[in-house]
């Protein structure tokens, strides 16, 4: 070591030394205690991070997939709420006061489908009297209400039974065979309030004046088929003509003919 290095070393050795603060030991012990607790918190935080790592991208992908494939998804019918007899009575009172059956937007919304492709063709009528044709707004809003389902046709030359056909203005291509009409929708259009299982539907109430009531359907009947198609089947869109209801009443199987009065 040369003399110059010696002097530098001497300068550095003479530098004042700083001491640790008085609470140094206490702070160290406090940190140790914190560090002992931290592993538990860290484990919880790690779990959350894992969830965020996988769940968040999955959620984003799900949303993207939903919007990307939404147009190609098959239509999903909303399950209509079961109307109680009391509600039907109110509906009847409305009909009587208006002198005919009017579409009700609230019920219409309740039984609406996402893409309304169902409509009752013009040219049918009910005992309640003639009804103006279903307006486009109501149809686009959900495809018809319970009341409109049992609405009459204005044209006298109608086929027996009930026809279900898509609207010409609907954006769904009628050639798209993936569009199906659920059994429940058909029952609603026939004025039937029912509780459905996989293989049958128990009738809770039948709208007064509907073709189902005219055919002799009663509450307590168990519907097993429409036009010999089992309940579990959904019918393809096109022109669906409902002519018969197969029911079980008091243990006996009956076939009710749906005929317009």
């Amino acid at each position: 070591m040369n003399p110059q290095e010696d002097k530098i070393s001497e300068i550095l050795q003479k530098l004042p030394r700083i001491a640790a603060p008085m609470n140094f030991d206490a702070l160290v012990m406090q940190k140790i205690e914190e560090r002992r607790i931290r592993p538990q918190k860290a484990a919880i935080a790690h779990q959350w991070k894992l969830w965020l790592k996988f769940a968040f991208p999955a959620a984003v992908l799900s949303v993207l997939a939903f919007f990307l494939f939404l147009p190609s998804l098959p239509d999903i019918s909303l399950v209509p709420p079961v109307e109680s007899p009391a509600q039907l009575t109110v509906a009847e009172a409305d009909r009587e006061s208006t002198g005919g059956i009017q579409p009700r937007s609230d019920v219409g919304n309740a039984v609406s489908t996402r893409n309304s492709s169902l409509n009752i063709p013009a040219g049918q009528k009910t005992p309640g009297g003639n009804l103006r044709p279903l307006d486009k707004r109501n149809s686009l809003n959900g495809g018809g209400s319970l009341d409109s389902a049992i609405s009459p046709a204005q044209t006298p030359s109608m086929p027996p039974g009930l026809q279900i056909r898509p609207l010409a203005s609907d954006h769904i291509n009628t050639s798209n065979t993936s569009r199906r009409v659920s059994f429940r929708e058909i029952l609603t259009m026939l004025g039937i309030s029912a509780e459905c299982n996989a293989d049958f539907c128990d009738v809770l109430s039948v709208a007064k004046g509907s073709i189902s009531a005219s055919a002799g359907l009663m509450s307590g009947d168990r519907i097993t088929a429409i036009d010999s198609r089992p309940v579990r089947e959904n019918l393809p869109v096109g022109v669906v003509t409902v002519k018969t209801l197969t029911i079980i009443r008091d243990g006996k199987t009956l076939v009710l003919q749906l005929k317009m009065p």
């Binding site: 110059q4 002097k7 530098i8 550095l12 050795q13 530098l15 140094f24």
Partner: protein
């Protein structure tokens, strides 16, 4: 009352015993869960480690913080401690690693700072401020100022030279101990210390600090 007195006597005896124990023995006790042994280690090394980091970083608050962190690490690593090296070497190595990490973190922060994009040659920030050549009225103030300038000059040394200089000349470790702390060969260590002193001498001369 008598029991309490006996307990206090035992405690004082234990304290005296701890005082006599070597660092390795204390670490064995710490590994066994004896916090009083850890307290003794703290008492022995807290000032040295704090001063070492302070001279390396030239930041008192950060030095205290990092010194505490070094002791916390020693505590939790007590079970894995091997007496192959001197405990002081082991502790200085932990402290040095923490200090180097902090220094690199600061350098990264400085590199990413927007100041670097707008700084020109004239306004370039100096690592240390040269002292005013005039006489200072107060000797204490002069001494403080001198220490401050030397501290800044040390802190302005490149990392490769700063660490061995601080360990050797400030902390008084032997060349062998410095080489062990740094994980370098003895020759490399001596060379770095020598080179570091030369750089430091130039810096101090430039700032008006005379060697005498």
């Amino acid at each position: 009352m008598a029991n309490e007195k006996t307990r206090n006597d035992q405690k004082s005896v234990l304290q005296e015993d701890l005082h006599l124990l070597s660092d390795h023995q204390l670490m064995e006790s710490v590994a066994g869960g004896d916090e009083s042994a850890f307290g003794e280690i703290l008492r022995r090394y807290r000032d040295r480690i704090t001063n070492f980091i302070f001279r390396f970083l030239n930041d008192r608050e950060e030095a205290i913080e990092l010194a505490q962190e070094a002791f916390v690490r020693v505590y939790f690593a007590a079970g894995r401690y091997h007496s192959g090296y001197a405990f002081s070497t082991y502790l200085y190595r932990i402290a040095a690693n923490l200090a180097i990490s902090e220094l690199r973190r600061r350098n990264r922060r400085r590199l990413t700072s927007l100041q670097g994009f707008f700084r020109d040659e004239e306004s370039e920030e100096k690592d240390y401020d040269p002292v005013d050549g005039g006489q200072l009225p107060d000797r204490k103030f002069e001494s403080d100022e001198r220490s401050r300038i030397i501290g800044r000059a040390i802190a302005s040394l490149p990392e490769n030279y700063r660490l061995p200089i601080v360990l050797r000349d400030v902390e008084g470790l032997s060349y062998e101990e410095v080489a062990e702390v740094l994980g370098l060969g003895l020759g490399t260590t001596k060379s770095r210390i020598s080179r570091g002193r030369a750089i430091l001498r130039d810096k101090l001369e430039a700032s008006g600090i005379r060697e005498n």
